[in-house]
C-alpha cells in the first residue's frame, strides 16, 4: 500500500521542479535582455544629447529613452518568451511583433515620459520631427543592434545545446562499449572453465610434466589473447585462430578422447581483419550444448573461406544438436554469447552480415557467419 503514494509524491515533485527549472532560465533570459536594453537606453540618450544636440538636457533624454526602451523590451521580449519560450521564434510572426510593438512602445513611452518630466507629448514629437532623418537612422541602427544581439544569443544557445547533446551521446556510446567489453571478459574467463583447467594442470604436473608445461603455455596464450583481443577493435584471422587453437587445446586435454577438432585457415586469409571474439562464443556454444553433455563427445571443425566477396566462417560440431526438447536460447548460459555475436554483427555491418544456426547431419549444429568485405 505504501509505495504508491510515495511514487505519486515523487512524480508531483518532479513535475513541479521541472516547471521551475523551465521558468528560471526564461526569467534569466529576460533579465539579461532588460539589462542590455537599459545600457542601450543610456547610450541612446548620450548620442541624442551630445552627438545630435537635441532636447533640453541629458536627464530628460535619458527618461524618454528609458521609457520607450523598457516598454518595448517588456512588450516585445516579454511576448516572445511567453509565446515561444526559450526556443527560436518563427521569423515572420516575430517581425510582426516588432512592427506592432515599436509604435505602441513609442506612443506609450512618450506619454509616460511626458508625465514624469512635465513636458507635453507634442513638444517631444515636435523635436523628433525636426530631426526626422537622424532619428530614423538611429532607430534603424538600434533595431539592427538589438536584432544582432538577439540572434547571436539564440545561435550561441543552439550551439551550446548541440555540444551538450553530442557530449551525452558520446558518453552513452562509451558506456555501451565498456559494458560489451566487460561482458566479453566475463564470458571468456568463466570460473568453471578456469578451475577445471587448473585442476587438470595440477593432476598433470605429477603425471607428465612436459605435457603439463605445454598445457600451461596454452592457458597463458588463451588468457593473454582473451584479455588483449577483448580490448582491441579489430584483429587478424591468424590471431583469432591461434586463440581458438589454444582454447580447443585446453578443452581437448580436459575432455580427452571425447573431443577432436580441426581448424582450416587458408594462408591468403591469415592477415584478413575481423572483429575480435566472434568465433569464440560459437565454439563455446558447440562445446557447452553439443559436446560436453554428449557421452561419446564429438568433433569440432572451424573453417574460414571466401564465398564471392564475403568472408564465411563456419563452426561445425557433431554434438547433441538443436534438440527441440531443449531449445538453445532457453538452456542456461547460452543465448547470451550468441545474442552478443548477432548484435555485434548487426551493429558493425547491418544487414550485410548474416548469422545462421542449422542442424548438421547426422547430428550436431552448423553455425555460420558471413562478413562483407
Amino acid at each position: 500500500m505504501r509505495p504508491e503514494p510515495a511514487t505519486e509524491n515523487t512524480i508531483g515533485m518532479n513535475s513541479a521542479s521541472s516547471k521551475m527549472s523551465r521558468a528560471r532560465p526564461l526569467l534569466r533570459q529576460f533579465l539579461i535582455g532588460f539589462a542590455l536594453i537599459t545600457l542601450l537606453n543610456i547610450i541612446i540618450a548620450i548620442v541624442i544629447t551630445y552627438l545630435m544636440h537635441v532636447g533640453r538636457s541629458f536627464l530628460q533624454n535619458l527618461v524618454i529613452s528609458m521609457c520607450i526602451g523598457w516598454i518595448s523590451d517588456i512588450l516585445i521580449d516579454g511576448s516572445r518568451l511567453i509565446l515561444w519560450g526559450p526556443k527560436r521564434p518563427p521569423l515572420l510572426p516575430f517581425i510582426g511583433l516588432w512592427i506592432v510593438g515599436i509604435p505602441i512602445a513609442q506612443k506609450s513611452g512618450n506619454a509616460l515620459a511626458s508625465k514624469i518630466i512635465g513636458v507635453p507629448t507634442e513638444r517631444i514629437d515636435a523635436v523628433r520631427s525636426e530631426n526626422a532623418v537622424a532619428f530614423i537612422v538611429l532607430t534603424i541602427l538600434v533595431c539592427f543592434f538589438i536584432s544582432f544581439l538577439f540572434w547571436s544569443r539564440m545561435k550561441l544557445q543552439k550551439l551550446m545545446a548541440e555540444a551538450e547533446a553530442e557530449k551525452s551521446r558520446a558518453a552513452a556510446i562509451e558506456r555501451q562499449a565498456m559494458q560489451a567489453q566487460l561482458q566479453l571478459l566475463q564470458a571468456q574467463i568463466e570460473p568453471h572453465m578456469l578451475f577445471n583447467t587448473l585442476a587438470n594442470l595440477q593432476g598433470m604436473i605429477a603425471m607428465d610434466p612436459s605435457r603439463a608445461q605445454h598445457m600451461l603455455d596454452q592457458l597463458i596464450l588463451y588468457l593473454r589473447a582473451t584479455l588483449s583481443s577483448s580490448r582491441a577493435d579489430v584483429t587478424t584471422l591468424a590471431h583469432e585462430f591461434s586463440l581458438l587453437e589454444a582454447y580447443l587445446g585446453l578443452m581437448s586435454v580436459r575432455m580427452g578422447a571425447r573431443l577432436s577438432y580441426s581448424l582450416q585457415l587458408p594462408d591468403a586469409l591469415r592477415q584478413r581483419q575481423v572483429p575480435p571474439m566472434l568465433l569464440q562464443p560459437l565454439i563455446e556454444n558447440a562445446l557447452k550444448h553439443g559436446l560436453e553433455s554428449k557421452i561419446d563427445g564429438g568433433h569440432i571443425e572451424v573453417v574460414a573461406r571466401m564465398a564471392g566477396d564475403a568472408l564465411t566462417l563456419t563452426v561445425t560440431d557433431t554434438g547433441l544438436g538443436l534438440d527441440p526438447l531443449v531449445p538453445a536460447p532457453k538452456a542456461p548460459g547460452s543465448g547470451v554469447g550468441l545474442a552478443n555475436v548477432r548484435e555485434r554483427l548487426q551493429a558493425l555491418y547491418g544487414e550485410r552480415a548474416t548469422f545462421s544456426l542449422i542442424p548438421n547431419t547426422p547430428a550436431g549444429v552448423i553455425a555460420q557467419l558471413t562478413i562483407p568485405s
Binding site: L194, F195, L325
Partner: protein, 265 residues
Amino acid sequence: MNASNLRALVAEDEPILAYALVQALNRLWPDLQIGAVVDNGVAAVQEALAQRPDILFFDIKMPGKTGLEAAHELAEEWPEDSPFPLIVFVTAYDQYALEAFEQAAVDYVLKPVNDARLLKTVERLQARLGQDKERGDELERVLGQLRTLMPAPPAATERLSMIRAAVGNQIRLIPVNEVLYFEATDKYVNVVTAESESLIRTSLKELTPQLDPNQFWQIHRGTLVNVSCIHAATRDESGKLSVKLRNRPESLPVSRVFAHLFRQM
C-alpha cells in the same frame, strides 16, 4: 571394521581429473579399493547398481546425467538388501551446488582437489563407515538431502491450462484438469487422461514449472500425477509403494524419494 572390503566408485568425465583423484585416494587411503572409474552419469548409475560400492565420488557436471541426477536415480533404485553408499560430490565451481551442499551437509570436494582437504573427507568417511548402525540410516539421510536439494517449485512463469498434443496430423487440446498423469518416456512425455494417451515433445523438467504444484505431485523421477485422481496409496509385501487411480486400471509406482508425500496425517 574390515577395511580391505571397502570399495569406491569414481565418476568423473575428465580423464586426468579421474586419474588424479584415484592417485590421491590411493595415497591417502591405501586400503580403499577403487572398483571402477566411469566417465558419465549413465554408466555411474549402472556400475553403482552392479557393484554396490561403499563410497561414490561423483562429479557434478557429467555427460549423460549430472552427479545429482545420478544420486537421485540411485536413491530410487537402490536394492533394500545392501547399505546405501556414502556419496561425495566433486565440483569445480558451482555457486548453486556449493550453497545447496553446505545446507544439506552432503560431503563435497572442490576441484582442484587438495590433499589436505581430501584427507578430511577420507577421515569423515572412515568415521561414518566405522559406525555400522549408522549405515542403515544412510539411505534415509540421503533421501532427506535429496528432497532439500530438489529444485523448489520455480516461480510460476505461466501456468498451462491446455496441453497441445499432436495426434496424427491433428493437434488435440487437452485441458490440464483432465490429465490423470504425465509419464516421461525416452524423448517424450505421455499425457494420460481417462479416455486417451498422447505423446508431447517436451521433457518433464520443462513441463513441471508450468503446472500447479498443488495439483500435480511428482511421485517418481518420471511421473507427475494429478492429486485429485489418486484413489489410494498401497504398500506391497516387499514394501514398495504405489498409487491407484480413480479412472484407470493401472497403478503407478512411488519412489522412495517421494514416499514421504503419502505418510498418514
